[in-house]
Symmetry: none
Subunit: 537 residues, 2 copies
């Protein structure tokens, strides 16, 4: 019978320790929403009290209407020689208002005496007091045993003493952490099996990928009896990263027949989830990522393509649709082929074969040029309108010009001019504006030209702006993709532009953002990004 | 006692099936030389007779004076109904002139009947005839059993019959291939153990990473008795790639105490090998790659850094020098003074309290303005020089100007001018250049102005370019951070620029990139990461 294995996501805390990862509060809330939609059991939102961003997150996450996930606040055991009620860290955890607190404590005697520099008994007291205090305040407490495997190998009696202290003080689970990522599967399984004999509450597992076996270790721990796997989306995290929960979830559900992700539909959306997190963290997709990468079911060798055409299973270990991915043969770059119909159902257009094929062909073509629509639904919606023949541009560019000029070390002067024709054969407007940068100047000039006709544009503003080099092998001469997030009082939507020129790419994304706003206010395009991207139907 | 585990590299054949991988003959020869230097046992050079490039490779590789490696020609069993001596594929293998031939044959009955469409007996005859023929021509024959695990699960008797045919015809090893990458470690180990009871020659293992467990599978197979591991450098290969021999070698040698790589010194050069192959295959480094990635021994959290300084093993599973990598301390708001001290030890500057405090204060101040040095070590190094008073600018900006101009839907015209004074009171240069975008145009103009004085800049190029909005609440008027990655023939370094203006931020990062290159070539800034990492003491 399928057993439910809990998935505990720490993308927002341990994942954000990864080099170059930097989520805004808005990013963190969007990821939380999507993880919850997909059925994750626990979401570790941040390190309580460590910075203002996490404090704001914990405050705003309470406004989300979550269906499945428990939000966890992460923190350390109390400092030495301080009562738990006076410990700033524990107070910070309490003040997050989350139902669950995840406390990390030391397991490895060497760490206690050499790094923490407290005596072994005080460390045990710190664990007991911290877990007990949070419990006494009505919180559910999960205990992360740091360096569990190294500690157990060095001094098994002491390692056990620390986790039993957490258990006896009221923790609901002991999570065995391979903090340094140095443990191989056999050793790890043996230790998990042994520890279970002494601990009466369930065990969880938290692996890092320093030996390139974090996923295998997580699966092995589940085989040995662990009921919770901690990890991050796409395996982001410090050093070599954490166990990739995408691979863990897919393996557990599809290969091991276990029940993961509440609601039963989450596994089919793993590809979408993976790409959404890459997009929000401004990281490049790993095209060869297991299960969800663009190349995961791509066939290049002629022999393979031939065989796949004869018999899909001949070179595919699973049906790619099980994880929301798709087979690619030859040039098709499209990730969400099966989603095209689903994504266009909100339009008042005929879903005839021919139109679907036209949309698909165009998307494939654009994706080959570096466009991506996963996180830019507004541009996708406009593209559908264009192909369906229901799109009429609200304005036409005659030309634009941007210049950035500086003298010495002063801030540069930036100026943009735009010349537009409004609404097919309407008036021509020629305007100039300054800005803090070229995109801001262009945006200002565009507004100056358009607001006399479209007053509702005054209620729209840009929220985020991201640039990514697509083919980086040629340095700055490579193609860039710009994604712009816009908002008005009701909605948030994202648009995309691609060009060799960052200004032109920004222009394309800006124009889409404005067109989308105008169509949206006329009720002519569907639900924007936040809604659409986060809903797993 | 340490057992020698053979490493069989197929980067040049199976690896080149990876999406976007395309080696020239010269690349293949260079990689062959390095693999041989490091002590790899077998190098699969290509698919015999499949294309002219591989034919040229097999001809030219004979001129190399190899110390350790056997070059293998890869090919399929004979076609049905043809004698082996008349089979073009087998003849192509022979004509490569290699000592070793690797023959791949079908194990899975479904594949034989549905894909190959021959009867089961004919397939066995094809295997027997092909191996026997090559053997009779004086070649060593390795047998790759394709889809071995899927085949064994479907029909163990038939799977065994195919590999016994290869054994009886004179193959020296049976390599069990998990061609679709769908097998998990437990199942794989069980099958390897079972098969060993029926086969009298040694077994090898060839894994793909579709379940994210290729390295774990390879290690498990060795535990179960396999004596040869096939894989690729950095795990490149079709779909999700092959087992990464870098991780396999490091785990076997360091974690399992086995003897890998002839000559005994190869493991210390794995970081160098990994980066060399990335460079030749024109792929970006994977910074979080286990053992050899740039972030593999990087420490960000202040708590971790503090601990690492007290006791290296506290957050490092191995000494990074064992694989030719190095520890890196990332500077970030999470870290604090212990990071600064650790990071500046490579400079020839006094580590007096006052200077450390000045650096820390400045870093905190800049980080509050949106700078980040954790992924921009070169800018950090220049910052330290500036604060320590050992920095003299190589050139001074008098002004720059960039303009982007378009007419209608055409690609815009981009032009940049720069006016610089060289070296304090040197000549003034005023130059103009075009580019694919504003940053490219600026870069081109800068080079035009500087190369007459600093000829070594010609050997430097931009590798990657990233833009991120820092405070996204104000849209395009917010601050942006640009990170530029540059490289020359020896090193890779990253620089950062922050401004409200993306052009100005790019300018700052460009200037740092150039200054770093100039100081580096004078030996005036510390070894950037890659050099230090790749040079094996």
């Amino acid at each position: 019978m399928a057993m439910h294995i809990q998935l505990y996501d720490t993308t927002l805390r341990d994942g954000s320790q990864g080099e170059g990862v930097n989520f805004s509060v808005q990013d963190k809330l969007l990821i939380t929403k999507m993880l919850d939609d997909l059925g994750f059991d626990f979401i570790e939102g941040g390190f309580a009290g460590s910075n203002e961003k996490d404090t704001e997150y914990f405050s705003r996450v309470q406004e989300l209407d979550l269906k499945h996930a428990q939000i966890c606040a992460f923190g350390m055991t109390r400092r030495r020689g301080v009562g738990p009620e006076e410990d700033a860290g524990l107070q910070a955890m309490l003040s997050t208002g989350t139902t669950c607190c995840t406390v990390v404590g030391k397991t490895w005697d060497l760490h206690v005496t050499e790094v923490l520099r407290v005596d072994l008994e005080e460390n045990v007291a710190m664990i007991r007091d911290s877990v007990g205090f949070l419990k006494s305040q009505g919180r559910r407490v999960l205990y992360d045993a740091e360096h569990f495997f190294d500690g157990y190998k060095a001094n098994p009696e002491y390692a056990l003493e620390t986790v039993l202290a957490a258990q006896d003080a009221g923790a609901e689970i002991i999570v065995c952490c391979d903090t340094n990522g140095g443990t191989l599967p056999d050793e790890l399984a043996e230790i998990v099996t042994n520890v279970q004999k002494s601990v009466s509450i369930p065990l969880g597992i938290h692996c890092h990928n320093d030996c390139d076996v974090a996923v295998a270790n997580s699966l092995r721990a589940v085989d040995a009896g662990a009921v919770q796997v901690q990890g991050t989306i796409n395996g982001i995290g410090e050093r070599c990263g954490n166990a990739d929960l995408v691979s863990v979830a897919a393996n557990l559900a599809i290969k091991k027949g276990q029940d993961v992700l509440q609601g039963g539909e989450g596994v089919k959306h793993l590809t979408e989830l993976s790409r959404y997190v890459y997009e929000l963290s401004n990281m490049n997709f790993r095209s060869n990522q297991p299960f969800v990468g663009r190349s995961a079911f791509a066939h290049k060798g002629g022999m393979h393509v031939h065989a796949v055409n004869r018999l899909a299973s001949s070179y595919e270990h699973i049906d790619p649709e099980l994880v929301g991915n798709e087979r690619r043969v030859l040039v098709s770059e499209l990730s969400g082929r099966s989603n095209i119909v689903a994504k266009t159902t909100k339009f008042r257009i005929d879903h005839d074969q021919e139109l679907m094929k036209k949309i698909l062909d165009r998307v494939v073509e654009l994706e080959n040029e570096g466009w991506q629509f996963e996180a830019s639904e507004a541009s996708f919606d406009l593209l559908v309108k264009k192909i369906a023949g229901t799109y009429e541009p609200k304005f036409r560019q005659i030309h634009y010009r941007v210049s950035v000029e500086t003298a010495g070390q002063k801030e540069p002067l930036t100026e943009a001019t735009v010349k537009l024709q409004i609404d097919g054969d309407g008036p021509i407007r020629h305007e100039v504006a300054e800005g803090d940068g070229p995109v801001n100047a262009l945006d200002n000039a565009l507004r100056k030209a358009l607001i006399p006709t479209y007053g509702n544009l005054a209620g729209m503003h840009l929220v985020d702006y991201k640039v990514r080099v697509i083919n980086s092998s040629e340095g700055t001469a490579a193609r860039v993709r710009v994604v712009i997030e816009s908002a008005d009082e009701h909605d948030v939507w994202s648009t995309v532009g691609v060009s060799e020129n960052v200004i032109e790419a920004s222009w394309l994304a800006l124009v889409d953002a404005i067109e989308f706003k105008l169509y949206k206010d006329e009720g002519e395009v569907g639900a924007p990004l936040e809604e659409a991207a986060a809903s797993p139907e």
